[in-house]
């Protein structure tokens, strides 16, 4: 039980980032796993909102997709897709948007559209989904993503969802109302935007990970916070619940 995978550490660290009682707009995949883990451990009052139109979903297993029936069956309210975006996301009612990414850059801009040129892509990715407006309108955004030099790039090939644009003041200039990405949780550590420049800065490493390893997995000259700390390892309770949750799915 004291052994755990890098993905497990990432998921636990992401879950811990969610304070109890907040409203969280949940992307599928890693964010959904982390959000459900949070709800079943330290944050029982966490309100989960899925873009398929469920407010307050309380699944007891991991949903297989954004439209898994269990999300609607356990929700406080089921609404149409236009309504979830227009009445609930857009006005800024959601505290945290929890997103994944294929590419993430120095200023936490997110690419889920293409690798390479848009019209002649090397890899065609799924595209935007709900992310551009989640990133724009939630009060803050958490990103959970595996870190390597292909995913962490100086500048994303395509800005699907705006993080901090090209730095401080950009979100305000663009009329984006939320604070944007405030926490990026990876399999190596945690990064946060610098208070002044908004450049992503390593603030936390997971146990056994060196700063050198993180630098090697980052496609730009990574800045490291002077207050760098180490993530506490997953507790037995966290790991048990995570594995149990995965086992039930």
């Amino acid at each position: 039980m004291s052994e755990y995978s890098a993905d497990e550490m990432m998921t636990v660290a992401a879950a811990r980032a969610l304070r109890d009682g907040i409203r969280c707009f949940v992307g599928i995949g890693l964010p959904s796993t982390a959000a459900n883990l949070a709800r079943l451990t330290h944050a029982p009052e966490l309100v989960l909102i899925y873009e398929s139109g469920t407010l307050g979903s309380k699944p007891d297993r991991l949903p297989a997709s954004i439209g898994d029936g269990i999300l609607g069956e356990t929700a406080d309210a089921v609404i149409s897709v236009p309504e979830v975006f227009n009445y609930w996301l857009q006005p800024g009612r959601i505290d945290v948007g929890f997103l994944g990414a294929a590419q993430l850059d120095r200023f936490a801009n997110i690419n889920t559209t293409v690798v390479g040129d848009y019209h002649q892509p090397k890899v065609r990715l799924p595209g935007a989904g709900g992310a551009p407006e989640i990133a724009a309108s939630c009060r803050e955004v958490f990103v959970v993503v595996r870190q390597n030099s292909r995913s962490f790039v100086e500048r994303v090939d395509f800005v699907t969802s705006v993080g901090h644009g090209s730095g401080a003041g950009d979100r305000e200039r663009l009329g984006l109302r939320g604070a944007g990405p405030t926490t990026v949780i990876t399999d190596l550590g945690v990064l946060r935007p610098d208070a002044e420049t908004r450049e992503l800065t390593l603030t936390q490493v997971h146990p056994g990970i060196s700063v050198q390893q993180v630098r090697a997995a980052t496609g730009w000259e990574l800045r490291v916070s002077p207050e760098l700390s180490e993530t506490p390892a997953p507790t037995v309770a966290e790991l048990t619940m995570l594995r149990d949750l995965k086992g039930r799915s």
């Binding site: 398929s52 439209g67 975006f85 848009y118």
Partner: protein, 273 residues
């Protein structure tokens, strides 16, 4: 008033080469059988519209029915890529596929505008993204009261929309419940519409969370039990997650996809879902 017909007749009567076609259903109630029937009938040059192309459009794209895709998220939910979609975009196989790509919020509002008889919708969206540069149906509009600049998206009015629902009555009134997606808007935005249903019942007893589309807002209804498989119809079936997994291997390979088409679409008379 909606006419109750066979799936084959419904598709034959409503879907024409070159049409703008929307098959909606947000992970729930996806009209999969209708998609296969469109392939079977050999429709070509379609503009396919759908928020999440999912397997239903991966199949239509792979079968060469589409010249253009209008969408917001093209993955295999919970699994990974849509390989036929990627093959079309990355290698123009079996033919090139033009893309018109939005966010979910943009697509949802385009249907809302279409259903509302308006030429455009306004939203807070796209600001700072690269989507506006590649998608001509994204522009901006200034608020005439505050002067604030907002995103504008062009209305979607498909030639035909197809959705799957749980039930209809004999008069063609349609009832659906569970996750509702944008189905109501997609039907109301369309010039013509077909609804496949799990069953026809004598009377639509009230169901919590259900919406009803009156018969006079629908053109054709076809009874296709299991017509959403491998997606699901709440109250009738569960999502077949294994089938979504299996599709990854089937769709990854052009030849294997061709065999699937031959054995599961063209060999099928269309009488089965």
């Amino acid at each position: 008033m909606a006419e109750i017909v066979s799936l084959a007749d419904g598709i034959a009567e409503l879907v024409r080469d070159g049409d703008v076609v929307a098959l909606e259903g947000f992970t729930h109630l996806i009209p999969m059988a209708a998609g296969r029937e469109i392939i079977r009938q050999g429709r070509r040059e379609l503009t396919l519209v759908r928020m999440t192309p999912d397997l239903v459009y991966d199949q239509l794209i792979g079968a060469g029915c589409a010249r253009k895709l209008v969408f917001s998220w093209g993955g295999n939910p919970g699994v990974g890529s849509l390989h036929r979609f990627r093959d079309a975009v990355e290698h123009a196989w079996p033919r090139a596929l033009e893309l018109e790509e939005h966010s979910h919020a943009g697509m949802a509002n385009r249907y809302v505008a279409g259903a509302s008889g308006l030429p455009f919708a306004v939203l807070r969206g796209y600001s700072g993204t690269d989507l506006g540069a590649v998608t001509p149906t994204i522009r901006s509009v200034d608020c005439p009261f505050t002067g604030e600049r907002l995103a504008a998206v062009a209305a979607l009015n498909p030639d035909v929309t197809v959705v799957h629902a749980q039930r209809a009555d004999r008069r063609g009134n349609v009832q659906l419940w569970g996750l509702l997606g944008v189905q109501k808007e997609a039907v109301l935005a369309a010039r013509r519409s077909l609804v496949t249903v799990e069953e026809v019942v004598a009377e639509l007893s009230p169901v919590p969370g259900a919406v009803v589309l009156p018969s006079w807002a629908v053109d054709r209804v076809a009874v296709v039990p299991g017509g959403a498989h491998p997606s699901y119809a709440q109250g009738y079936s569960e999502r077949d997650n294994q089938w979504y997994q299996d599709w990854d291997a089937i769709s990854r390979d052009r030849e294997r996809f061709g065999e699937w088409l031959r054995d599961n679409v063209f060999a099928d008379s269309g009488s089965l879902a």
